[in-house]
């Protein structure tokens, strides 16, 4: 029998990165209200992401997309017992302060919302609540980690139902990590320059062969097979946005994507879970999107 011998420390890197470790192998689902949050929890989501409109609606309705109404976030926190994440605009540190005051479990500084600052991201070390940030390549991921991100998600192209950008981004990040592993120490200085990331962090990734934080993937995942594809490409877990609540049968599709994420390496399970799901979200081909409408190009 024992006791506590020192004071408690909260908001540490280990605590922030640790929560993401516990989410691994799971699916994080976008929800816009308490009812959707409950459906997601019942389907086996490891966490929910609160936002005012799912990306597909942000795309079709246009206008400025911002942090959700605090009442909606409170409603979602009250409705579920799994972690609740919420999105803040890139660089909008006051939205982040508000979300921390609302006691969300994770903040997504997200390109899906309209950026509030086209130069600077949020200084995430200033917060006790952890942050997840999007990245399209290793340099971007390492810059976000330098700013204090405790989790990275590859961006993909949100609100499209087209998984091709998600595939490109996770392959790019994984490929660049593999390239670093084969470099000698003198080459790593140049790699750091090219990646526009701190040398210490680049060397750490080269030695360990992975990011120092958990890497999920996002943006365009709409089917169980899409989720399993992301896992086989080396993602630690999957974010699903519009793919669930823009489909014909959200509860069933959500549960199917959870199963496929766990049993990503078993085609029989993925086949079984893909049956009879009804219509997937209609989707947009990323190649049909004019460049200004590509969300993944926001953030730098």
């Amino acid at each position: 029998m024992s006791e506590n011998t020192s004071s408690n420390e909260s908001g540490t890197s280990r605590v922030k990165r640790g929560l993401a470790e516990m989410l691994k192998g799971g699916v994080i689902m976008d929800v816009v209200n308490a009812e959707q949050a409950k459906i997601a929890e019942d389907a086996g989501a490891v966490a929910v992401m609160a936002l005012e409109r799912v990306p597909a609606d942000i795309r079709s309705q246009g206008g400025v997309a911002r942090m959700s109404d605090p009442d909606l976030i409170d409603g979602i926190i009250d409705a579920v017992s799994i972690p609740v994440m919420a999105k803040a605009r890139i660089g909008h540190f006051v939205e982040a302060q508000v979300l921390q005051a609302l006691k969300v479990d994770y903040i997504d500084e997200s390109e899906v919302l309209s950026p509030a600052d086209y130069v600077n991201h949020i200084d995430k070390w200033n917060f006790d609540v952890p942050f997840v940030c999007g990245a399209t390549n290793l340099g971007e991921a390492l810059r976000r980690i330098t700013e204090g991100a405790a989790m990275i998600r590859s961006k993909g192209e949100a609100g499209t139902g087209d998984v091709s950008e998600a595939t490109k981004h996770i392959r790019t990040i994984k490929g660049q990590i593999n390239e670093l592993r084969s470099k000698s120490v003198d080459e790593l200085y140049v790699a750091a320059k090219e990646l526009q990331a701190p040398y210490e962090l680049v060397r750490e990734v080269a030695q360990s062969g992975k990011l120092p934080v958990v890497l999920f993937t996002a943006g365009g995942v709409a089917t169980p097979a899409d989720a399993a594809l992301m896992m086989q490409l080396g993602a630690d877990g999957v974010f699903v946005g519009s793919g669930i609540f823009k489909s014909g049968n959200p509860a069933q599709r959500a549960a199917a994507i959870v199963k496929a994420t766990t049993f990503f390496d078993d085609p029989n399970v993925i086949a079984e879970t893909s049956r009879g799901l009804g219509e997937a979200m209609v989707g947009i081909n990323v190649s049909d999107l004019a460049a200004p409408h590509r969300l993944s190009e926001r953030g730098w």
């Binding site: 408690n8 640790g18 516990m22 192998g25 490891v46």
Partner: protein, 203 residues
């Protein structure tokens, strides 16, 4: 005691449905143990012990029932399989779970009442040092992430560690061990060694 070489060679399983199971596999390998990721009921017959990792307990419960692992694990615990659960794993081992989601079940085995998310949201997550004489003189650095606490300990279980305010955060009962915190992410392998010693001693 260790007379049966075939049992001695059985690996230690880590339930690999969701959560930080890779960290547990890694710690076991560091200790020189053979470790396997358990995802199907057949594998339960070929392990000497099981670790239930940190993760989301409602998800681990749901997936274990979907894939026919729930009843076999419950039966194996009842039959004496040594099991160690961290955080969500402790919740899965508790006979009674408070603040669970509707319909959530646990494998049970530990005669304790555990409360989910007992400290609040993520901003209330913390790390601290615990002194646990059973594990040696140096304090154990413990990381609590949206952690559960043991609200009460029944006659068959025993508290191993408490916080300053008296709340119980580690328990044991025969072959079962549970911690609210995550030794698998701190690099301190003493809890795993404590568990492995017990597993190998019972063979």
């Amino acid at each position: 005691m260790a007379g049966n070489p075939s049992v001695d060679q059985l690996p230690i399983g880590v339930l690999a449905l969701q959560g930080d199971f890779r960290e547990h596999l890694h710690v076991l390998q560091q200790l020189g143990e053979t470790a396997v990721a358990v995802k199907s009921p057949e594998q339960l017959e070929h392990i000497a012990a099981l670790i239930i990792p940190g993760g989301e307990s409602s998800v681990i419960d749901k997936l274990s029932r979907l894939y026919g692992l729930f009843e076999p694990i419950r039966a194996a615990i009842h039959a004496g399989l040594p099991v160690y659960g961290t955080c969500a794993g402790l919740i899965m081992l508790a006979d009674t779970v408070e603040d669970s989601i509707e319909g959530q079940q646990s494998f049970g085995g530990l005669d304790v009442v555990v409360r989910r998310n007992a400290f609040g949201s993520q901003t209330d997550s913390f790390e601290t040092d615990l002194s646990i004489p059973e594990l040696g003189e140096n304090p154990v650095h413990a990381v609590f992430i949206r952690a559960p606490v043991v609200e009460s300990v029944g006659a068959r279980a025993r508290a191993l560690a408490t916080l300053d305010d008296g709340r119980i955060v580690a328990v044991e009962q025969g072959n079962l061990l549970g911690t609210s915190f995550h030794p698998e992410i701190t690099g301190d392998t003493r809890f795993h060694e404590y568990f492995v010693r017990r597993v190998r001693a019972t063979q």
